[in-house]
């Protein structure tokens, strides 16, 4: 045990004493490793930046049917439970999914017709912008009074601007229909729970609970929606009785759990005969780029690793030959096979460690320069050349493993040195 430790110390002293030669070995390793790190940094940075951009926008996760279909609630619930689906809600007929809004203040004249989109808690679009979706699943009675409490909605920025309203503002919602030759109106009161930024939605849209969409569609179809009646003084949701048969929806709003599942979901729906709009093509492009870069990187890496293995092995071999007198002397001193093998192995590990550290430092400088160079086309925290600590650790472990592998045979040679053959000057 003591001899193993002594061998490490002596190997280190020898390494330090031959500082110039050791520096050459370290530089040699860094010369191979630095370009690889930069190359991988660029591959990782570019692909991460592109994927991040895709991932950051929930639009890329959205899947919607191309043509309107007839989806039952049970079918949609089953789709929502699919392991690749993060969120799914039914849509009503888009032609019926509009509402005229105006601020509740009596003197206000602005009004705007908005499209209605269904929403519910955990809606990825709202979650992405840090907004809470309305939670009610049916109209609630007003607190302490007659009628119903205002229904929470999320307004798009353009709609909110046109109406001049803010979060917590109260709105009147009005639905018109032509029924029996007359124009009829139904009303409900709404409250703005949140406002969706322009980047997320550029049209006049209100995100509302599904029951409101269903009520609006039913009313336009000439049916009564008694649970929406707010009491005397408000236009009533009157009409025919609700039909017995199950409600069918023409479409849905659905989000995949992550980018990789968009394509599997597309295939899943295609298997059911449903053609869907997805961003699968863009995602596939980025994935394809990542695969191609990986392949190129793997090929360059393999070539570099072979060269490194050969150069390290020949260097270690030459070192053992050059130092055979020292090694023979250590053998004579009483060092056994294991400590003698340690001698070249320790030195190879030192080169691996210091070479990786140097390469990491040079990589850091290069990466900084590259990121500065492309700073204009990058947003926020994005980097075109980027590695994580894990990558550098992996690089060190691989280099270390290769170095030890390369030094193994020279180490065996070192241990087989016959002192009597080497200790004398010829």
């Amino acid at each position: 045990m003591r001899n193993l430790f002594r061998a490490c110390v002596l190997a280190f002293r020898d390494y330090a004493h031959e500082a110039l030669l050791s520096a050459c070995a370290i530089l040699g390793l860094a010369a191979v490793l630095t370009p690889l790190l930069v190359l991988y940094g660029v591959r990782f940075g570019v692909v991460e930046t592109l994927t991040d951009r895709l991932r950051q926008d929930p639009v890329n996760l959205e899947i919607s049917p191309v043509t309107s279909g007839r989806y039952s609630r049970a079918w949609l619930d089953a789709a929502a439970r699919h392991p690749d689906v993060a969120f799914a809600l039914p849509r009503t007929r888009s032609i019926a999914a509009t509402m005229q809004l105006r601020p509740a203040a009596p003197d206000s004249r602005q009004h705007v017709v908005v499209s209605l989109e269904p929403t519910a808690p955990h809606d990825p679009l709202l979650v992405h912008y840090g907004l809470a979706a309305p939670e009610e699943t049916a109209p609630l009675p007003a607190a302490g009074g007659e009628g119903l409490a205002p229904i929470g909605i999320v307004l798009s920025a353009t709609a909110a601007e046109k109406l001049g309203v803010h979060t917590q503002s109260l709105l009147h919602g009005m639905v018109e229909r032509r029924y029996d030759g007359r124009i009829e109106r139904a009303e409900t009161s709404l409250t703005v729970k949140a406002i969706l930024p322009l980047a997320a939605q550029s049209r006049d849209v209100a995100f509302v609970p599904l029951f409101l969409l269903e009520a609006v569609e039913d009313y336009r179809d000439g049916r009564a929606v008694p649970h929406m009646d707010a009491g005397p003084g408000k236009a009533m949701w009157t009409g025919e009785a609700q039909p017995e048969e199950e409600r069918l929806y023409p479409g849905f709003r659905l989000y995949a759990r992550d980018l990789d599942r968009v394509e599997t979901l597309r295939q899943f729906f295609a298997g059911q005969g449903i053609e869907v709009y997805t961003r699968a093509a863009e995602i596939a492009q980025v994935n394809g780029l990542a695969k191609a870069l990986d392949l190129i990187f793997a090929m360059i890496c393999t070539a570099a690793a072979m060269g490194f293995l050969a150069s390290t092995a020949s260097r270690a071999m030459a070192d053992v030959k050059r130092k055979e007198k020292i090694l023979g002397l250590l053998r004579l001193t009483g060092f056994g096979t294991a400590p003698l093998m340690l001698f070249p192995l320790v030195q190879a590990s030192l080169t691996a460690l210091l070479g990786t550290v140097l390469a990491a430092g040079l990589y850091g400088l290069t990466a900084h320069a590259i990121n500065q160079l492309f700073a204009e086309s990058l947003q926020g925290m994005e980097q075109i050349c980027r590695l994580e600590a894990l990558h550098l650790l992996l690089a060190f472990l691989l280099t270390g493993a290769l170095s030890l592998l390369a030094a193994l045979y020279p180490a065996l040679r070192a241990a087989r040195i016959e002192p009597s053959e080497v200790i004398r000057d010829v």
Binding site: A16, L332, G334, F335, I423, R424
Partner: protein, 248 residues
């Protein structure tokens, strides 16, 4: 007789038809022995066999079987041939480290250690601590190299290096010191000087020294007894033989 080494009928042949035959070799405890003979007669080979650094072969034509006993201290005897058969060079490493010192012709110092670290090499390997350190300083004083201890070998003269090598061979308190022409690289005046110091210190410490010598007269004047190697040509074979059995 109390012998440190007791050898019968060992051999070592080299390619090219040379064969060394250690017919009978007893080396008495505390004696100073110099191997003498023409160059190429296998003196250094014999020394390496004694150092347990070279595996001997039993001499094929001998009637008495080969024997190699090493007793560093009275009563403790190791059968070296058996140890070779058991574990090769590793089995003998500890024995060599503990009981032997070795001085080479030249350049036996590790270039990456200072003179002092070189001297303490065996002491460190044995984990001796302070006792080794004191003896090392004392030896450096006796050999006149106290002022060189912080220097690296490449800044020392050949003579200074040999003194450092001698100090290293002695510092860990071995029972036997083997030296391979330790003064060959020195001029006659320095050679005599170093050799006298060497034998003086060895006598003082009660050591056994076996030395290969290129200058028998010098060795004798420093108090060494000579053991001669005789070379004879036997057909294609060149045979070098030695026989040394001091009286009991």
């Amino acid at each position: 007789m109390d012998a440190v080494f007791s050898i019968r009928n060992l051999g070592k042949s080299r390619p090219g038809g040379f064969c060394l035959h250690l017919e009978a070799l007893d080396i008495a405890r505390g004696s100073l022995i110099a191997f003498a003979g023409p160059s190429g007669c296998g003196k250094s080979t014999a020394l390496d066999i004694l150092a347990c650094a070279l595996r001997p072969e039993p001499y094929p034509e001998a009637e008495v079987p080969g024997l190699f006993l090493f007793s560093p201290t009275p009563g403790h005897t190791t059968d070296v041939l058996a140890a070779w058969r058991r574990g090769g060079i590793d089995a003998l490493a500890a024995l060599r480290l503990r009981h032997m010192g070795y001085v080479l012709q030249t350049g036996g110092l590790l270039p990456f250690l200072t003179a002092q670290e070189n001297i303490l090499l065996h002491c460190e390997a044995l984990g001796m601590g302070m006792s080794g350190q004191e003896r090392a300083l004392e030896l450096a004083e006796q050999l006149g190299i106290s002022h060189l201890l912080k220097q690296y070998p490449d800044s020392l003269s050949v003579g200074e290096r040999q003194r450092v090598a001698i100090a290293r061979a002695l510092a860990h308190g071995p029972q036997v010191v083997l030296a391979d022409e330790p003064t060959a690289a020195l001029d006659p005046w320095h050679a005599a000087n170093v050799l006298h110091l060497f034998s003086q210190i060895a006598r003082h410490m009660g050591l056994t020294i076996v030395m290969v010598s290129h200058a028998p007269e010098l060795a004798q004047s420093a108090g060494f007894s000579l053991v001669h190697f005789t070379v004879s040509a036997e057909g294609e074979m060149i045979r070098s033989r030695t026989r040394h059995l001091p009286e009991a």
